[in-house]
């Protein structure tokens, strides 16, 4: 009566014993992610890039625009390397990579405006990074707005002076006339989290998924290469007992790693908040671990060698980084690719862990459901694939 349970537990205790015999592996799994997160927290600035800029002024002067005001405006967004009147020198600096942006101001803005035309400020750059290009264009837009506001304010001031001299009283200050609408904002939480804290649940989920996928991926393929499958096939043990035993052993191990990592995140100077319910966190983590192990086992049953299994695990890791919303929002992807992201356990673990740890909410219903579907689907696929692999001997 108890024999099936004993057989299932044989794989469980075998996996546990094998893992505990590798203290370096356990240590690297525990300390490695912690150190990565620590370095990320200490090192990541989370600010927009400071672009090295050369300002080219017209030899005739700026007219309406005050140079000091302009420099202050530039300095807020760009790192002003040099101010020059020599456009060729600026172009050479851009070409050599010494400067990233050359900002060229037009000559005699006042005269151009008087003729009813727009004066053009030119931003030239030599950029291959699309994100930096977006930044330059956005900052140029913001800076030109600032210049426009300064020019308009000065013009309104002049106009008001002339009107007042003509005996007409003006009630509105020039700033209100130039910018009649302003904005205010407030975060109901008080303040957003720092980058390290915000990314911590995501990094935790990424690490747990990677450990689970790698352990699972190497598991069956190693049994096969060792020749143990031959022994199992003669013994009175079923493929499902083998799989469930392995699920159990690895889940316990990953659970310990996860608990230790959460403790390191929460109770050390990293002080990542844990606002949610512990039971919900355990239940969600269990589902997440089983889903990740399932993907690992599918790889393991499919791969012909352990190097192939490792390679496939790395592909899952890469895919997870790109399509899980870890760095790039999932909404930015077109429909068929977005669905790939939804098929990854990490996608739901990131949102679930962030909700649980940072907001104190339960993961969304969608996250629970999809995670459950991945667990069941992966088990069915691996059970089928492993059976096929077992029969290959015949």
């Amino acid at each position: 009566m108890f024999k099936p349970i004993i057989r299932l537990l044989s794989f469980f205790s075998k996996e546990v014993n094998e893992i505990r015999r590798q203290p370096k592996l356990v240590l690297s799994l525990l300390l490695g992610p912690f150190l990565i997160l620590l370095l990320f927290g200490v090192g990541y600035q989370g600010e927009r890039p400071r672009l090295r800029t050369v300002l080219v002024l017209p030899p005739q002067g700026l007219g309406l625009v005050n140079l000091d005001d302009l420099k202050r405006a530039i300095d807020a967004n760009f790192e002003l390397l040099k101010t020059t009147a020599d456009a060729n020198e600026a172009a050479a600096m851009l070409q050599s990579g010494e400067a990233e942006v050359v900002e060229t101001l037009p000559a005699d803005i006042e005269q151009v405006l008087a003729s009813g035309k727009q004066a053009t400020v030119t931003f030239t750059y030599n950029e291959i990074n699309p994100l930096n290009e977006q930044w330059i264009q956005y900052l140029a837009y913001a800076q030109v707005n600032e210049i426009n506001r300064a020019v308009q304010t000065k013009a309104v001031q002049q106009l008001q002076g002339e009107v007042q001299r003509a005996g007409v009283q003006t009630t509105y200050p020039p700033e209100v006339l130039v910018s009649p609408v302003r904005f205010e904002y407030s975060n109901v939480r008080g303040k957003a989290l720092d980058f390290m804290t915000y990314y911590a649940p995501g990094v935790l989920a990424l690490i747990i998924q990677h450990i689970a996928v790698t352990l699972g991926a190497l598991s069956l393929v190693r049994e096969r290469l060792l020749g143990a499958i031959e022994l199992f096939r003669v013994a009175p043990v079923s493929i499902n007992q083998l799989l469930l035993g392995k699920y159990l052993g690895f889940t316990l191990f990953i659970g310990i790693i996860l608990a230790a990592l959460v403790a390191l995140l929460v109770f050390t100077p990293l002080a990542v908040p844990f606002a949610g319910d512990v039971t919900t966190f355990v239940a969600f983590s269990l589902l997440f671990t089983l889903a990740s192990l399932g993907i690992g086992f599918v790889i393991s049953a499919w791969a012909s060698s352990d190097s192939q299994a490792v390679q496939m695990s790395m592909l899952v890791l890469l895919m997870s980084i790109f399509f899980s919303g870890f760095f790039l929002p999932l909404e930015n992807f077109a429909s068929p690719v977005r669905e790939i992201g939804y098929a990854l356990p990490l996608t739901h673990a990131i949102s679930g862990y962030q909700a649980l740890m940072l907001r104190g909410h339960s993961p969304s219903q969608f996250a629970w459901e999809v995670m459950g579907i991945i667990v069941v689907a992966a088990f069915l696929v691996v059970s089928m694939l492993a059976r096929w692999r077992f029969r290959q001997l015949a």
Partner: protein, 338 residues
Amino acid sequence: MEIPQAPRQASAGRARQSDLTALTIKADQVEKVFGGDTGVFDLNFEVPAGAIFGMIGPSGCGKTTTVRLLTGLYRRDKGKLWVLGRDPDRFSLRTRERIGYMPQHFVLYPNLTVWENLNFVASLYGMGYLSRRKWLAQALDFVELSDARHRLGSQLSGGMQRRLELACTLVHNPLLIFADEPTAGIDPVLRGKFWDHFRNLRDGGRTLFITTQYVGEAAYCDMVGVMRAGRLLHVDTPENLRRKAFSGEQIQLVVPPAQVYAAAKILMSQPYVADVRRSNDQPGLLVLHVADASDALPLIFNTMSDHPEISVQQADRYVPPFDDVFIRLMEQAEEGHV
């Protein structure tokens, strides 16, 4: 050395007896083809309960394939097979529990200790946690690995690994044991010990199906199957195989070298002597081929007593080593005698 006895069998003598009577292997025209002329063909043999059946033959002749067919690892293409009264393709859990299998290569875990490896295999066979310890200890004692129980699999010598595998094969007290080249790559002293273990197991009522490349080991078996190129050339007792190889038995007769031709001439004329050969290495030694040595020896003494000019210094039955038997059988097969 005590053979481990599982509790159910130690306490249920009647059940054990019925197991033994049912215990047999029967192969009838079994064939497994991997493509072209590779595989095993027309396997016909029976293994009686409580016997050691040795399968000998050169590397790649189909011994492992035969074991895999018998254990259900391979599905046969043709023929019928019964192992413990069942078709190996449809073994029940109960039948699997009665089988012990020692694969050709070390398949135990290098990161587990000797005890943990053994414990793992015992769990695979569903042995209870509390009752298991005693049988584990006995199995380790049986293969003399008790002192190494805490050593990791990776720290064992080749011989110790094979002994651990044997312990793993026996830990659940199987009635039928398949051992695929258990003595390959180990020293002669350990090989001798392995055969002692196998004989003890046989004497304890187990049936053993053992493959080996060391043809000399066939002499330790009760029944021997000789394989060549996927075909079973002979299945017989070692003694009968010797007879088949040399068309009977041999007697060595030693006379003074000067009388060797005269003696040979006299003996050649006797109806009970099939052939007489002179040894090139030892002058004065004659090898007589007879149907039955025990019948022929008194006749030889009678004949030689009629010839007092020949002084017989020694006359004995000669048992050729199994290596010679095997070579002779292979030669016969090549000559098309089989």
